[in-house]
């Protein structure tokens, strides 16, 4: 590694990177270069090949063809260790930290200076210095499991920097962060570029972030580089068009003219414990009406997941009541709720919402097997479920060769479409959706949001849980920011101000006035 890197020096060059997997070319002769002191965003939809490219640059995957030059030298990564030694750092979307260890222990883990005896004091000084320089506030002795998602990400970044990273790869850096945390992160990476570091964020959506911080953008589509743009010349619409290949409408038409009907879901003083045994939901009360989207805005880990699970019958309430149509269902099973018009779309599509090794037909059956029409004397009507699956696949535009492929072979967007099709085709009267567009690209997000609006038009009561403020703001009739298991108020969607909702969900402002 050269001792001195000047601003504008080319630090990494990739030439003709190609990676083939059976049945698809994930990276098709990708060329690009990164300069010191620049933020170079890689933009692309799910399945565009971003992840593969990132893995190749970090040495997790070896390319079939192509060459990589780091600081002018041709390199061949056998494992991430080679990449790290050359000054490449990476922050994963799924944090790879040891939860029971402290921050400093995590940062030291794998560091060459960490011999058999840890010199924690010296390390602490050096790490504190890094924190001060980039504006991070972090208790180095705190255990990682106490930290918020944003703080965990800071730990990952510090870990890479402390290891001497000059090129920092960030995978979806803002996906799990509250708006104020996002601001802080962006500010800190801008300081880093002043230190001649090259930052390479990989981003699926949140185009405004790309516009506000990056210098250059490389857009991928189906494994190929579609364009290289100087951010100064780009707009949100032009970026989206490059990514998706067609015009995307950003502002959804608010469907305000649906007449609000009688309350379908009433929640009274509901509380519940999370898996760790802490009271994660602390006395929440609200009602959701027919033809209404009730938005719950919150950064993940503030009790909204627990709320969704209690409402879906997957978690016991510790106190309070849940009523559907005025009937107390607090103690009824999940199955009874499905049969009585509830629909639930969980946030974890692969871990909870689908069965990866099942075919699409069998996945469709997950919400239908209990319906009388689909079995006779306990024997499934395979023709009926098959034709339903085929119908829904074409109606929802799930891209798949046939309904017999396994669910794990679908991309995130397609899988979400399948889950949506499965739940919405039951015409639920109460629809609970948790992070419906998380990790989806622009096109799929648009599709999912339109489907939620259609459900509202069909007079379903929709409970939308999301951490994406834009989504909450544009879809909801009423908004309840949730922070540490409590609603910080219930605000009508029309009069809600973005900054206020953002501050409420981050716990930065006291409870709003109930309206």
């Amino acid at each position: 590694m050269p001792t001195e890197i000047k601003r504008g020096d080319t630090v990494l060059v990739a030439k003709g990177i190609t990676k083939r997997y059976p049945g698809l070319v994930a990276n098709d002769h990708i060329d690009f270069e990164i300069k010191a002191g620049e933020i170079h965003a890689i933009l692309g939809e799910n399945g565009a090949g971003k992840t593969t490219l990132m893995k190749i640059l970090f040495g997790l995957v070896q390319p079939d063809e192509g060459e990589i030059y780091v600081f002018g030298r041709k390199v061949h990564f056998r494992s991430p260790l080679d990449a790290i030694d050359l000054g490449i750092g990476m922050v994963h979307q799924n944090r790879k930290l040891i939860h029971a260890h402290s921050v400093i222990e995590n940062i030291m883990l794998g560091h060459p200076n960490a011999g058999n005896i840890l010199n924690l004091k010296r390390a602490a000084e050096e790490i504190t210095e890094l924190c001060d320089r980039y504006g991070y506030k972090l208790d180095l002795k705190a255990k990682v499991w106490h930290l918020s998602e944003g703080e965990k990400q800071v730990v990952e970044i510090l870990k890479a920097l402390y290891r001497g990273a000059k090129i920092l790869i960030l995978d979806e850096p803002t996906s799990a962060l509250a708006p104020p945390e996002t601001e802080k992160l962006l500010a800190s990476i801008q300081i880093m570029t002043g230190d001649e570091l090259a930052i390479v964020p990989f981003i699926t959506h949140k185009l405004p972030i790309v516009l506000s911080v990056s210098h250059r953008v490389t857009v991928l589509r189906r494994g190929k580089v579609i364009s290289r743009i100087n951010t100064a010349d780009a707009t949100e619409n032009s970026l989206a068009k490059e990514m998706v290949g067609r015009e995307v409408i950003f502002r959804l038409e608010r469907v305000a003219d649906v007449e609000k009907g009688k309350p379908i879901l009433q929640v009274e003083n509901l509380s519940a414990f999370n898996d760790k045994g802490f009271l994660a939901l602390k006395g929440v009360s609200f009602s959701a009406h027919e033809g209404e989207i009730f938005g719950i805005a919150g950064v993940s880990g503030n009790g909204q997941q627990v709320l969704a699970e209690v409402l879906a019958g997957l978690r016991k309430a510790a106190g309070g009541k849940v009523l559907i149509d005025g009937i107390d269902i607090t103690n009824s099973t999940s199955l009874q709720r499905w049969q009585n018009g509830m629909g639930y779309i969980p946030s974890e599509q692969r871990a909870v919402g689908s069965i990866g090794d099942f075919s699409l037909v069998e996945n469709m059956l997950m919400n239908y097997y209990f319906d009388a029409g689909f079995s006779k004397w306990g024997i499934m009507d395979s023709k009926k479920i098959r034709s339903l699956t085929e119908e829904l696949i074409s109606e929802y535009g799930v891209a798949t060769p046939n309904p017999d492929v396994s669910a794990k072979s679908l991309s995130g967007g397609n899988l979400q479409k399948l889950i949506l099709a499965r739940v919405l085709s039951r015409k639920p009267r109460l629809l609970i959706v948790n992070l419906p567009t998380q990790g989806l690209d622009v096109g799929a997000t648009e599709f999912v949001q339109n489907k939620l609006l259609e459900a509202k038009k069909a007079r379903a009561g929709v409970l939308l849980i999301s951490e994406d403020l834009d989504e909450i703001m544009s879809l909801s009739d009423r908004i309840a920011p949730i922070y540490e298991g409590e609603f910080m108020g219930i605000i009508p969607g029309k009069s809600a101000e973005r900054e206020i909702v953002g501050a409420l969900m981050a716990g930065l402002q006291q409870k709003a006035v109930e309206i």
């Binding site: 059976p22 061949h76 997957l314 909870v352 919402g353 099942f358 069998e362 209990f370 499934m380």
Partner: protein
């Protein structure tokens, strides 16, 4: 890895057909037989002759074949007792305990009908035999239900619970058949009492009717898993318990159900071996050997990947090899347990060959220019 001018790489397999899976299993068996050949050589026996003896006695001999089939029925039932919970993602290591309970249940019924010490009493087989089968099934079910209940209610580890119950059931049998036990046989040699001839089931070519239970179960279970609502629920729970819960499937009901069914089938295996196999008709002194043999049911279940039909040829093979192995040991005067050695090696190789279900080996010539990296 580099070998001369070639690079050897492992590539993940995306999919494989049923025939490829069968082919891999057959290759594994041949490879295991090759390895055991060295054991024969080391013992001074020509492996070709050794195998010829094993296979001709195990599969072609008029005395050996019925023994093989009876053993295969036993293994097959044990395999099913393992497969049913396995499809729900749960591990039944308790076939031994469940089959001991099944044997005790069957003999308890016979005891209640006054079969003990009445070798020539004329009991009605039309009543007593079905009652004994029911007794075996109920006893197996009760023992199987314990780990199922604990799993469903408290999420205890079913492997530990089933293992522990094996010991309890083992000593319960000892208590019942050994000195002073209620089921003690007249000889006082630590065996159970012998069934009267009237309730020893009829044989066809040395094979009792239990073969039809085993084969019928194979077809039935295959159908249940492939086509029915409950089979779907079990498979869903086995592949992704969280998603199954999301879909309204009760973990408690599934855990309890699969272990009860597994227990019933293992109970029937106990009935089969101790009450229907010619020349046995009692809980033998060495009943523990059959508990050990039951573990090969796990191997059958694992290799067949939970497919009850695929377990049939495997059970037959294992039955034949142990039976033939035991025979050549006597005939060729080998000083070691060739039958268990054979099964042991076979087991390890079959498991090792599972590797080829996931990966294929690719040879590539290294390009000259790449070498300088």
């Amino acid at each position: 890895m580099k070998l001369g001018g070639y690079e050897v790489k492992l590539e993940k397999k995306v999919s494989f057909t049923g025939w490829q899976a069968a082919l891999i299993s057959i290759l594994a068996i041949l490879f295991a037989l090759l390895l055991v050949g060295f054991i024969f050589l080391q013992a001074g026996v020509n492996p070709v002759i050794g195998y010829k003896e094993i296979f001709s006695y195990g599969f072609l001999n008029a005395f050996g074949l019925p023994l093989t089939i009876n053993r295969a029925i036993f293994l097959l039932l044990c395999a099913f007792a393992f497969i049913v919970p396995m499809r729900a993602g749960l591990w039944n290591i308790g076939m031994a305990g469940q089959l001991y309970a099944g044997a005790l249940g069957a003999f308890a019924v016979a005891f209640a009908f006054g079969a003990k010490g009445a070798q020539h009493s004329e009991l009605s087989p039309g009543i007593v035999i079905p009652a004994m089968i029911a007794g075996a099934a109920v006893a197996g079910m009760v023992v199987g239900a314990i780990p199922g209940l604990l799993k469903g209610r408290f999420n205890t580890n079913e492997i530990v619970v089933t293992m522990m119950i094996n010991f309890i059931a083992f000593w319960l049998v000892a208590h019942m058949i050994k000195e002073g036990g209620p089921f003690m046989g007249s000889g006082g040699e630590g065996e159970g009492f012998k069934l009267p001839e009237s309730i020893q089931p009829l044989l066809f070519e040395g094979i009792p009717f239990t073969i039809w239970i085993a084969l019928g179960l194979a077809v039935l279970l295959y159908f249940v898993f492939a086509k029915t609502k409950i089979g779907y629920q079990i498979r869903a729970f086995g592949l992704n318990p969280l998603a199954a819960r999301y879909a309204g499937i009760s973990p408690f009901k599934i855990s309890l159900l699969v272990f009860m069914v597994g227990g019933i089938i293992a109970g029937l295996a106990g009935y089969h071996y101790f009450a229907t196999v010619p020349g046995v008709y009692k809980i033998t002194k060495n009943y523990g050997d059959f508990g050990d043999l039951a573990f090969y049911g796990i191997i059958c279940g694992l290799i067949s990947q939970g497919n009850p039909l695929a377990a049939i040829p495997l059970a037959l093979l294992f039955g034949g090899l142990t039976n033939g192995g035991r025979f050549v040991q006597g005939k060729l005067q080998l000083g070691f347990g060739i039958d268990y050695a054979l099964l042991g090696v076979l087991m390890i190789i079959l498991v090792a060959f599972q590797f080829f279900f996931r990966y294929k080996i690719v040879w590539k010539q290294i390009e000259k220019e790449k070498k300088d990296v």
